[in-house]
Structure formats: C-alpha cells, structure tokens
C-alpha cells in the first residue's frame, strides 16, 4: 500500500455504499416485521459492528497490514457471505419488541438479534478501517471515497425500494458487495485466477438462492399476521416501496367489517370490506363504492358529524387511508373533494380496489398535506384528518415517529386555508386517560390564540363515541344553531358531548361513561387560556407539538416510570407509553456495549500505542466528539428538511446523500488544503465554518424553510443541496485531519480512532432523538456545534506541535 495506484478507492466507495444500503434496508425491514422503534433500536445497536471493528483491527493490525490485499478481499467476501445469513436468522429469532418491558426472555432474543446484525457491519467496517490505516497520510482519500460511496448507497437504496419488491433488495446489495470485491482484485493488482472465480461463484449462488427466503417474516403479533391466520384470509395485492409496504387482504369467509366508533344504535352493518395494511399494521378498511342505500351506516359514524353541521362546497381529505372518509364526503355531501396522499402506491391500490376513481368531483393529489396546502389557492370548508389505522391507542409504539402534520405551525397553515366558516375535523382513537385528543385540542387552541382568537372555547366542538373522539375547530365561533345540531346528532347516535361552549359538567359523560369526565374537564381548563399551566400538571405530556419538536405521539413523562414498573409482567405497557423508555434503554445498552467492547480494550491496550495518557484522552475525546456531532447535525437536517422535501424518505435520500457526498468532497480536499494552510489553521477554519453555518441556520432556518417550500418543485432539491454544501464540506475535514496526524505520530491509534468514531455515531443516532424529544432540534444543533468546538480544543495542542 505504498504506491498511490494501489488505493482501492472504487472498491471502498462500493463497499461503503453497500453498508449504508444495508443499514437503510434493515430500517425498512424491521419497520415491517416489527415496529418502527424496533427498527431504530436494532439498527443503532447493529451498527456497533463499526465500533467493534476498531478493536478487532487493533488486535489484528500487524498481520492484516502485512497481508493487506488478502485481508481486505476476505473481509469484503465475509460481508457478502454473512449478510444473507444474518438477515434470514434475525428474522426468524422470534423476537418481539412489544414484549421487551414485559417478558424476560425477550431481552435475550434482542441481544441475539443485535449480535447477528452487528456481524455484517463488523466485516464491512473492518475492511474500510483497514484501508484507512494502510493509506496512512493519504487516509483522507480513502475516507472521501467512503463518504461518497455511503451517499450514493443511500440514494441507490431508496431507488431500489421504489422499483423492486423488498425481498429482491438483499440480492442486489450482495451483488454490489461482490462487485466491490471484484474491483478490489483489479485495483490492488492481486491474484485474479483464484479470486475472480470464487467471486463469480458467490454471485451465482446469490441469485440461485430463492429470493422468497428474504420475504419479510412478520412478527406473529402484528395485525397483518393475525388477520392472515383467520380461515379464508388471503393476500390479494402487495406493493412495497420506500415509504411503506402495503398489503391488501381479502376474506370472503370471515369478512372484515371496520367502522370506527359506529353508533350503538346502528341496525345496518358494513358490507364486506378489504383490509388495507401499511407495514403489516396500521389497518384501514377498503369499502366498495356502492349504492347509497347499502352505505347507510356511513351516516351512523362519528365522522358524519361535520356534514350535518355544514353543506361544504370544497372538502380536503388529508391521507387517503382506506377511502372511508372519501366515501363519506361523496355520499354525505355534494362537495368537490381533494384527497392528499403522499404514497402514490396507496392511491393506485385504492382506486383499483374501491372503485373510487377521479371524476369531476373527486381529485387525488400525490403530495404531502402541508406541501399541498402551501401551494394551493383553493379555500376549503372542511379539512379532514381521519383516525388513521392505529386503533385503540398508540401504545407508545409510535412515540419515536415525527409527525409534521400535527404541529402548531401546521394547524396555522390549515386555518389559513379555510373559508371564513370552514372547519378542521380531527378524529382520534380514544385512550384512557385521554392523550392524543387533548394534544390535538391544545395544539388547536395554541394555533387559534397565535392568530388573535381570544375566546377559543367557542371555536371548538368535541364529541366522543365508544371508541373515538372527534374535534372540530375553525377561526369563527360555532353558532347556537350549529351547537343544537351537534347535540341532536350526538343524542340520536348514542355519542357523548365532550365540549361545546357553555356546556356544564353534568352534561358530560352520560352515554358512554368513562371513570371520569376527563375530556370535558381538560378542555375547559385548556380553553381558559393557560395551556402551559394545564399541561404541566397532567400526567401525560400533552404539550402542543411544534416543527422543532415534532413528536406528536410522545406522551411520556418521568413520573410514569413508577407506573411502568408496577405494570411489568401485567401487559399494561400501553397504558404508560413505554416506547420512549425503550429508546432510552437502547441508548444505555449501546453505551454499555461500547464501553465494554471498545473503551475497556483501549484502556488495557493503551501502553502498546506508545503515547502518553493525556494525549490518549485528547485523541479519544476528539474522535468521539466528531462522531457524535456529525450525526447530530445530519439527523437534525434530515428532520428539518422533511417539511421542505415533503416526506421523510425523500429527506433521508436527499439530505443524507448531500451530506455524505459534500463531506466526502471536504475529505478529498483535506490534504491539498493542509498543504496550503497548515494543519492547525485548517482545523480551526473548518470548525469556525461549521459554527458559522449552523448559527446562521439557527437564526434564519425557519425563514429559509418557508422560502424554499414555495419554490417551484423542480428547483427544491438543487437548492437544498446548495444549502447543505457549505456545512457538509467543512464537516468532512476534521476526521481525516486527525487520521493524518495519527499516521505520523501514533499509527497504532488509527484503528481505535476508527472504532471510537463509529461507536460515537451509534450513540449519536439515538441521542439525537432523545435530545430532540426533550428540547427540540435547535438544541440538538447547538450541542453539535459545542462538540465540534470541544473537539478542536482537544486536538489543537497536538496539531500545533505538529505544525511546528
């Protein structure tokens, strides 16, 4: 590895692309087979493979550097071989994330999954770390190739998911890994007559294995698995994409009948429906569009209420779901209907199976609701948000998902899109004690207050059925006639009045009696205008979500820990919103594992590195700070740009790719800049650039977001990339700068630097979410720049010496 031509740069880029594609594939896979927060957990801990690779490298460094070519190619081949085995085994370990706080064996299974999934990353990261070490002062080039490849891997995976069924993705990734191995044979100019036939055989084997083996093996506790277990049930259509995996299930023998909150007085029943699953859960029902008489039950649902209060000319339905809200709008009104749905596959399947096809009244728009509302000139009489597919409360399992649809800023945008007497309608599954509905009400009140409404109580109506509650609000008060219609509707359908202006306590909680009239009491207090004082004393976190803290489903508060402990073994986790605790447990587990597998060996091994303890601590701190801060900034931008780019998947693809490619560019420029500026100046220049750009974002970020959102669609992505560039380029410099110093002064520390940086990234991925939930993304950015500053302060004494 002394001659420049021998750097396996293309191979490194492909390998890195495969590793990142694997990571994103696993996120998607675990969201389907388990739950979203399990995806976070498994992936962040599986990435420990990166951290452990440093430790492994430190121990095999000498023989590996001596026989670099052999080790490098074998490690890539190892990645290709263990990946399919790990994907298959991790899926069949029968691990259920929902049982984590509930069953002791679940932890053992989880540990098994972590170890399995860490293996492929261990191989990939060891190969990259070895190449970095071998490149010595030219490590910046290898690191640049690593980042560029990772950027392309993120983009490639999203494109693969868009065009291929998910079960075909592993074989594509393995092919990419084997290409990396094959190219490295040529780049390193090594023995071809053995390596190439072996690689070819592996490639053939990859495609000869039945791809059905990679079909997601869904946990038996997920609703799709349960629906399919019922006699007569079968899948009629499946579509997977980067946004979600959609499945339609038909059961002529035991037909689905789904009507959230249907009146207790209903005599007619819903006709046979199809179950529509998203990621094997979030079930909605597809009802065939039929004659009005056969859909009589649509009048008997709580969601029929807005059509009794108003005769709308224009209705917006946010999210197509299974089409029930659309059917209601068609049959209970004569309005023009705009359906806004971010997933094009859902629109196509819905049209195919429900018969709801676009016509003069009905229009489908493939867009995000906020994005559409921002761009449209139409004013709406009703903007409708259905209850979604959660059913019976969120159980704390969606706590980690960001939701930009239900923030104060979003509600302000919806209010601006209403006609003067228009209403926003939000239905939500009932939880006891109530959480989501109270957060909707608090958010609505805050939005109304921010545009100058004082007597907000008169702008709200809330009703409640056995299973759901419905909120209506707008910029004008409800008239006495409207309130009377509201009361009459509730009485005739067996629903409770939970709020109208002037309502007395004794009028609440009469038909579907709760242990306590929570909704009425809470809304009364909220409508008095002291939201902060009210939410501060409520057991659950019902603070309105904001664009800076977009965690609508996060209801956890620390006093709940006592209740969670008392619920252990009783299956009551859903009552106390334990999802957040699972995230914290992940963070703690990641830190302990990192400590045991990376820091402890480093302490034991420190004498062989040949540097004094003070420098060792500075160096370790430097690479840890860099790992932490890089991901904190990257994740914050992915989240912040979600509003601009329309949905989280596009944001991951564009933002992640942008960051990695530009950071790669920064790394590629490092050696040249180092020559002209000197290493010390370059470190501080890059650090100050990062601080400056992040500070600018903190100051004008909101204005920037609002400005870009309304730009023509075609130029949004280039503009986003231009915004990322001045931040990402300096972010790519400090790491290779440190490696350069190590190559000359402490080469034995290189593997440790790689491992510590990887470990910090793992922790950072979880830490970013924990911090954002607690304090918002602005604070996360602030912490990240502080970490860059600390890193520069830790490294500068050593660099100054080096410059001298």
């Amino acid at each position: 590895m002394t001659k420049q031509r021998n750097y396996p740069l293309t191979s490194i880029a492909l390998l890195s692309a495969s590793a990142l594609a694997t990571e994103l594939y696993l996120v998607r896979l675990f969201a389907i087979i388990q739950w979203h927060h399990a995806a976070y957990m498994v992936i962040s801990l599986a990435l420990l493979g990166y951290g452990i690779s440093g430790t492994l490298l430190a121990f095999i460094r000498k023989p590996a550097l001596t026989r670099f070519k052999l080790y490098y190619i074998l490690l890539i081949a190892g990645f290709a071989i263990v990946l399919p085995l790990c994907i298959w085994s991790a899926q069949h370990l029968d691990f259920n994330a929902e049982l984590l706080l509930w069953q002791k064996h679940a932890w053992l299974r989880m540990a098994g999954v972590f170890l399995l999934l860490a293996l492929p990353f261990l191989f990939a990261a060891t190969a990259i770390g070895l190449a970095l070490d071998a490149a010595r002062t030219s490590a910046a080039k290898v690191y640049a190739a690593d980042l560029l490849g990772a950027g392309l891997g993120a983009l490639g995976l999203v494109m693969l998911l868009a065009i291929l069924p998910i079960q075909l993705v592993p074989a594509c990734i393995i092919t990419l890994i084997l290409s990396a191995a094959a190219i490295s044979v040529y780049e390193l100019n090594t023995t071809k007559h053995i390596a190439i036939p072996v690689i070819l055989m592996l490639l053939i084997a990859t495609w000869l294995i039945p791809q059905e083996l990679y079909r997601p093996n869904i946990s038996e506790f997920k609703p799709l698995a349960q629906a399919l277990r019922i006699a007569g049930a079968h899948r009629v259509k499946e579509r997977s994409g980067p946004l979600a995996s959609l499945t339609i299930v038909k059961n002529p023998q035991v037909p689905l009948r789904h009507a959230p909150g249907l009146s207790l007085y209903a005599q007619s029943i819903p006709d046979e429906q199809l179950a529509f699953f998203e990621d094997a859960s979030n079930m909605t029902a597809i009802t065939l569009d039929k004659d009005k008489n056969e859909l009589e039950w649509l009048h008997l649902m709580p969601s029929a209420l807005p059509y009794k209060l108003t005769k709308p000319n224009h209705v917006l339905i946010a999210g197509a779901g299974g089409g029930m809200d659309i059917l209601q709008a068609i049959h209970l009104s004569e309005a023009k209907i705009d359906v806004i749905e971010p997933n094009i596959q859902r629109i196509k399947l819905l049209q195919q199976f429900s018969g709801l096809n676009p016509d003069a009244r009905l229009h489908f728009h493939h867009a995000d609701t906020r994005e559409f509302i921002q761009r449209t000139d139409t004013s709406y009489d009703l903007i409708i948000f259905g209850p979604g597919g959660a059913g019976g409360g969120t159980s704390g399992m969606h706590a980690l998902n960001t939701s930009y649809q239900h923030t104060t800023e979003a509600y302000n945008e919806y209010l601006a899109a209403l006609t003067p007497r228009g209403r926003i309608v939000i239905s939500s599954w009932l939880q006891l004690p109530p959480r989501a509905m109270l957060k909707h009400v608090a958010t609505a009140i805050q939005a109304l207050q921010s545009i100058g409404n004082i007597n907000v109580g008169s702008n709200l109506l809330v009703s409640r059925s056995l299973q759901t509650s419905t909120l209506l609000f707008g910029t004008t008060s409800f008239s006495a006639a409207e309130v009377n219609t509201f009361k009459a509707f509730n009485k005739s359908h067996g629903f409770d009045n939970s709020w109208y202006y002037g309502m007395e306590l004794q009028q609440a909680n009469l038909i579907n009696r709760l242990p306590h009239p929570w909704l009425y009491e809470s809304i009364w207090e909220l409508s008095q205008g002291t939201i902060d004082a009210y939410v501060a004393k409520y057991k659950f976190d019902t603070r309105p979500a904001t664009d800076d803290q977009p965690y609508f489903h996060h209801f956890f508060r620390w006093p709940l820990v006592k209740d969670i402990l008392s619920q252990r073994g009783k299956g009551g986790m859903s009552l106390v919103e334990g999802g957040y605790l699972v995230l914290l447990a992940t963070l703690i587990l990641a830190m302990i594992t990192g400590l045991l597998l990376i820091l402890v060996p480093l302490i034991v091994y420190r004498r062989k590195i040949g540097i004094n303890n003070k420098t060792l601590v500075s160096l370790a701190g430097y690479f840890i700070c860099l790992g932490l801060s890089f991901l904190l900034i990257e994740i914050t931008f992915i989240e912040r740009l979600t509003i601009v780019l329309g949905n989280p998947v596009y944001s991951v693809a564009v933002t992640l790719t942008g960051f990695l490619i530009f950071a790669g560019l920064g790394s590629a420029l490092t050696n040249r800049l180092q020559l002209s500026l000197g290493v010390y100046k370059l470190l501080w220049l890059s650090t100050f650039s990062i601080i400056l750009v992040v500070s600018l974002h903190l100051l004008i970020g909101d204005w920037l977001t609002q400005t870009i959102r309304v730009m023509p669609k075609g130029i949004i992505i280039p503009v986003v990339l231009i915004i990322i560039m001045p931040l990402a380029i300096p972010m790519g410099i400090p790491f290779p700068l440190g490696l350069n110093w190590l190559a000359d002064h402490a080469p034995d520390f290189t593997p440790w630097a790689w491992g510590l940086n990887g470990f910090a990234s793992v922790v950072s991925a979880v830490l970013a979410i924990v911090l954002a939930m607690q304090w918002g993304f602005s604070v996360v950015m602030l912490i990240a720049v502080c970490l860059y500053l600390v890193a520069a302060l830790l490294m500068s004494p050593s660099l100054r010496q080096y410059s001298d």
């Binding site: 929902e98 038996e220 506790f221 698995a225 349960q226 277990r229 019922i230 006699a231 023998q253 035991v254 037909p255 009948r257 789904h258 009507a259 959230p260 909150g261 249907l262 207790l264 007085y265 209903a266 005599q267 007619s268 029943i269 059913g391 019976g392 409360g393 159980s395 009932l430 939880q431 006891l432 004690p433 056995l466 299973q467 067996g494 038909i511 579907n512 009696r513 709760l514 242990p515 306590h516 929570w518 009491e521 004393k537 409520y538 057991k539 659950f540 709940l560 209740d563 008392s566 619920q567 073994g569 009783k570 299956g571 009551g572 986790m573 859903s574 009552l575 106390v576």
Partner: protein
C-alpha cells in the same frame, strides 16, 4: 426376640412401603401443588380487585366467580412450555398470535356480566377455552365462537376432555353472533373491534349485559360494559382493569 429372617423380611416390607410411598408421592403432590398455586393466584386477583376498586366500582368479586377461578385448572389451557407460569397473574401466549388473558381480567369480565345459574351466555373469541370453562362453571349453557380454526378445534377437544358438557364451541365469524341460540343473558367479547357489532347488541336480552375490551387483544387497556335496559335502550361504561394511571392531585 425376632429371628434374623423375620427382621430382614420386616425391613424389606418397610423398605417396600417407603419406596411405594415415595413413588406415589408425586402422583399425590402434583395436584396438591397446583391447587396451592391456584389459591395463590386467587389471592393475587383479590389484591388486584382491591387496588382497582375505585375504577371497577366494587371491593370484591362475586364469591362464585372466585370459586370458579379456584376450580378451573388453568395449566390445562396453556402450552406445555409455559406450564410453570400457568398460575401467574399474567397473560400468556398460546400460539397463533393469541394469548390467554390475565386471570384478573378473566375474573373481572365474568363478574361484570353478573351470571346466574340459569343464564345462557355467548362468548366471542374462545382462544384456549379457559374463559369458556370459567363461564361453564357458572351458567347453564355457554356458546363460544372462535375465528382461528386450529384454536377452535383444540379448545373443543380440551373442554370435552375436562368434562364441560355445557360449553358449545363453534368455528365461525363472531361478528354475527349465534342467532340460532339467541337471545343471550350475557355476552363476553374477548377480541377488540372497531365498534360493537350490531348483531351482538340485537342478540342481547333486555336487561342483559355485554362486556368487551377496548384496545388491542394483546394488551387490554380497558373493559367496556354495555347494558341493555328493559326497554331495549343501550348505554356503556368504561373502566380500567389493569393498574390505572391516576392523574395528578388536582383531578
């Protein structure tokens, strides 16, 4: 003085008795231990009832219900691998993505429908058959419907083996109830649904009670009791069966 031969033969007889007794002990001890475990489980249920009395509106459950909980061998309804956990007051997986409910929930649901010996009761969601067995101890006829065929078959076999002749198992869609045997004095639904199926409300006798969990089947959140008065009007009441989360002092 006994001869040596007699001493030896007596020792042999004693030894044989001791050996026989030790062999027979497990046969006797096993049911005794199980009974002891069941009593322990019943005590835990009583404690849970006291803890949640504010929500469920009662300090203790009907003594007949508690007797049934003590009499029905829950270990016969759980998979062999979970035999040791059979009398813990927790839900347990029974395969096919289903669970056998927490004993406290079973007792509470049974208590809520206020069964009398002459009552005819309908259960939707047989599962392992444990709840049906409890109902079988208290009512004259129990009609139970299961949607997963293997579970229905297993439960039918198990209940027949245990001698529950008044429990009738059917593999069908519980949404439509069991119209041939309607009306019922009480209905227990053990699976969560998006709404209470209208046919079930129709098959409930005036004065009858229907109990249904709201939330997912796996983690029951709260039970809902639906009552039909003599004139056929229905109303519902929701309560928290699992340990509740009280609000802060001001509420």
């Amino acid at each position: 003085m006994l001869s040596l031969r007699k001493q030896v033969s007596r020792s042999v007889v004693y030894s044989a008795w001791i050996l026989l007794a030790s062999l027979a002990w497990p046969l006797y001890a096993e049911p005794y231990d199980r009974m002891k475990e069941r009593k322990g489980m019943v005590k835990e249920i009583e404690a849970d009832v006291r803890d949640t009395s504010l929500y469920i509106d009662r300090e203790q459950l009907d003594s007949r219900v508690m007797q049934a909980m003590q009499d029905v061998p829950r270990h016969e309804f759980v998979p062999d691998s979970l035999d040791d956990d059979a009398y813990l007051n927790i839900p347990l997986p029974i395969g096919h993505g289903q669970t056998i409910s927490q004993p406290y929930i079973v007792a509470l649901m049974t208590d809520l429908i206020g069964l009398r010996p002459h009552h005819r009761v309908l259960e939707i969601g047989t599962g392992s058959g444990y709840q049906a067995a409890i109902l079988g101890e208290l009512a004259s006829e129990v009609y139970t419907i299961e949607i997963v065929e293997p579970l229905a078959e297993q439960a039918k076999k198990r209940l027949a083996q245990l001698g529950y002749k008044n429990v009738h198992v059917r593999f069908a869609d519980g949404y439509h109830g069991w119209p041939e045997e309607a009306p019922f004095d009480a209905i227990i639904v053990t699976a969560a649904a998006s709404h209470i199926p209208p046919p079930l409300v129709q098959q409930l006798k005036p004065g009858g009670r229907l109990v249904i969990p709201v939330g997912s089947r796996f983690i029951v959140q709260q039970l809902t009791l639906l009552e039909k008065d003599a004139r056929g009007n229905v109303s519902s009441r929701q309560m928290l069966p699992v340990r509740f989360v009280p609000l802060t002092g001001d509420h």
